[in-house]
């Protein structure tokens, strides 16, 4: 706790005012509106609305389309988080062994971080476009009838690839930092005792990386849930059919395209609860980390 502070009374409020104002107008007010709207039923023209309690939630949770999108989101997020993290960890371990040229590899490795998700999606669709994508041709030659615009599985694979590609950079930087923080003495002791490299990776390095891994797991999940909207909107538009309609995409689609406000708001509220749970999980865990130092 800080002992010395400035004695002013009004100044701190002036300093806080801009952020508080923006937070209230763009966070708390809309969030409250989402709650309110989630309990209302509006006619399509938005002229009148009636209070319906939890009906919207019941409707949403029993809607096969919503359950489909829960499933799509789970498959998509789990694949992206797992792939982006394992590829990044593998590359970070390789980078650790290298003496010369590390900076060079890192510079090339961080590019995708700067690419907008929507553009990442367009790049991948461009490379794997069924009619003129250069990389779609080898797939056809191998006898795969590759068409991400018509085939649900292919569409899913394509957006997972694009989303994973974009997230590898971020995970790579964190794993490199995590690996550098592992005490050399432990690894050296294991090596002197005759442990193989693989063995000491799984028994020493990997467990000691747990804080980094958990942190990245939460970040990657949040990324896959929300930041990938651009990829999906630009590449598949949720299709073919509803094969790639994630939860966030459905909120957007119902709210802005189909104009079913109440249900869209109910979905927003469900998403907020998911994010708050993830945040709580992360902070519980960070608190523990601080204790162990």
């Amino acid at each position: 706790m800080r002992r010395t502070v400035f004695p002013h009374r009004l100044l701190p409020w002036l300093l806080l005012a801009p952020q508080l104002a923006i937070t209230l107008i763009f966070f708390y007010w809309p969030a409250a509106q989402a709650f309110r709207q989630s309990m209302l039923k509006e006619d399509p023209f938005g002229l009148s609305s009636t209070f319906v309690g939890l009906a919207n939630f019941r409707k949403v949770l029993s809607d096969p389309n919503y359950l489909n999108s829960v499933q799509v989101t789970a498959v998509f997020s789990a694949s992206v988080a797992f792939l982006a993290m394992s590829i990044a960890l593998f590359l970070a371990v390789q980078a650790e062994k290298i003496i010369r040229g590390k900076g060079f590899y890192r510079t090339l490795m961080i590019w995708p971080y700067a690419v907008a998700p929507a553009i990442a999606g367009m790049l991948w669709l461009f490379m794997f476009n069924p009619s003129f994508g250069t990389l779609a041709r080898p797939l056809r030659v191998m006898g795969i009838n590759w068409n991400p615009l018509l085939n649900a599985d292919h569409a899913m694979i394509l957006i997972i690839a694009a989303a994973t590609w974009k997230q590898i950079s971020y995970n790579f930087l964190f794993f490199v930092a995590g690996l550098q923080a592992i005490p050399r003495s432990l690894l050296e002791a294991a090596a002197i005792d005759g442990a193989s490299r693989r063995h000491s990776f799984w028994t020493i390095t990997f467990p000691l990386l747990a804080p980094t891994t958990f942190f990245l797991l939460v970040v990657n999940t949040v990324y896959a849930l929300f930041d990938t909207f651009g990829i999906i909107h630009a590449v598949t538009g949720g299709g073919p059919g509803k094969a790639t309609e994630t939860l966030v995409y459905k909120v957007y689609n119902d709210g802005f395209v189909n104009l079913i406000m109440g249900e869209s708001a109910a979905q927003s509220v469900i998403l907020m609860v998911i994010v708050i749970a993830l945040t709580a999980f992360q902070f519980r865990f960070i608190e523990r980390r601080v204790h162990y130092g």
Partner: protein, 289 residues
């Protein structure tokens, strides 16, 4: 960190070679899509539509880039590429600088002052940490309409600078400033502004640089929000304009110009990240934990 050569865990030459092999492969996969679009931007539409695309730059680079910059792109209502780049730069800079300004101010208030409801304010900001705009788009959009901010720069910028991340980072950093420093400054008669300008700001520069890079990228790559609050083509960011230009089903998409636009949408943030790499990596890894 590479080990000393005599350490028992130093990689042998053969292992290092294998590691290099994997890194080269990784870098190829990671950098290839960006390289590919750059190559495509130097060919004619006919070449682009007849795969496989050559792996070396073609002869059309000058013509394509000249066309894209001078012609205006008919598909997006004749808005020039300059305008799109200017819009995106304004939004990205507005978000990055706006966030730094408001979050430094509020972190300063929370750390260096004592006032009633201080912790309430802190929690009010803190709770918003992980509520991305995606989960409350509909009501936020309505606020925008009510405030008349559709198709304006403030409409594109303001909702996105309201995030707790930067505030928390600055708060964390300010708390590491030793009490003695503030005491000494107060003894010398420094008020809040002098202390901030002469002591705190110079010490914060590394953090400011890191946050600037992270938030600039965040602003430049926004998608959902600009998609909603811009109706007029004049106000599009380059990412949105690109999406509007492309139709994979349509035969007359000007692919060569699409590729040029993609390159220009990708290049500025990549330059920022690569050139400011040192601060960016340090800031990202150290502060986001």
């Amino acid at each position: 960190m590479a080990e000393a050569p005599d350490s028992p865990i130093a990689a042998r030459a053969s292992e290092r070679l294998i590691a290099h092999f994997w890194m080269v492969l990784g870098v190829i996969v990671v950098a290839f899509p960006v390289y590919y679009v750059f190559i495509a931007s130097t060919h004619t539409t006919q070449t682009i539509l007849r795969p496989p695309l050559p792996l070396i730059p073609g002869p059309e680079a000058a013509a394509n880039y000249r066309d894209a910059f001078s012609g205006g792109v008919s598909r997006i209502g004749g808005v020039s590429l300059w305008r799109l780049l200017a819009n995106t730069t304004i939004v990205a800079l507005g978000i990055a600088l706006g966030k730094i300004a408001i979050s430094m101010a509020s972190a300063y208030a929370i750390v260096f002052f004592r006032f009633p409801l201080r912790m309430v304010c802190f929690w009010l900001i803190f709770i918003t940490l992980m509520l991305p705009v995606e989960v409350r788009i509909q009501p936020t959009y309505k606020v925008m309409v009510d405030l008349g901010l559709i198709d304006t720069y403030p409409g594109l910028i303001l909702p996105l600078i309201a995030s707790a991340t930067a505030t928390l980072l600055f708060r964390q950093f300010f708390m590491t400033i030793p009490d003695e420093l503030l005491e000494a400054a107060r003894v010398d008669g420094a008020g809040p502004w002098r202390f901030f300008r002469d002591i705190l700001w110079p010490l914060s520069l590394t953090n400011v640089a890191a946050i600037f890079v992270i938030q600039f990228i965040y602003g430049w790559t926004q998608y959902l929000w600009p998609l909603l609050v811009t109706n007029s083509n004049e106000m599009n960011t380059i990412v949105i304009a690109l999406k509007k230009m492309i139709s994979f089903a349509d035969a007359d998409t000007p692919w060569n110009l699409v590729m040029v636009t993609s390159v220009l949408a990708i290049l500025p943030p990549i330059l920022v990240v690569v050139l400011m790499q040192r601060w960016f990596v340090k800031g990202l890894v150290e502060t986001e934990k």
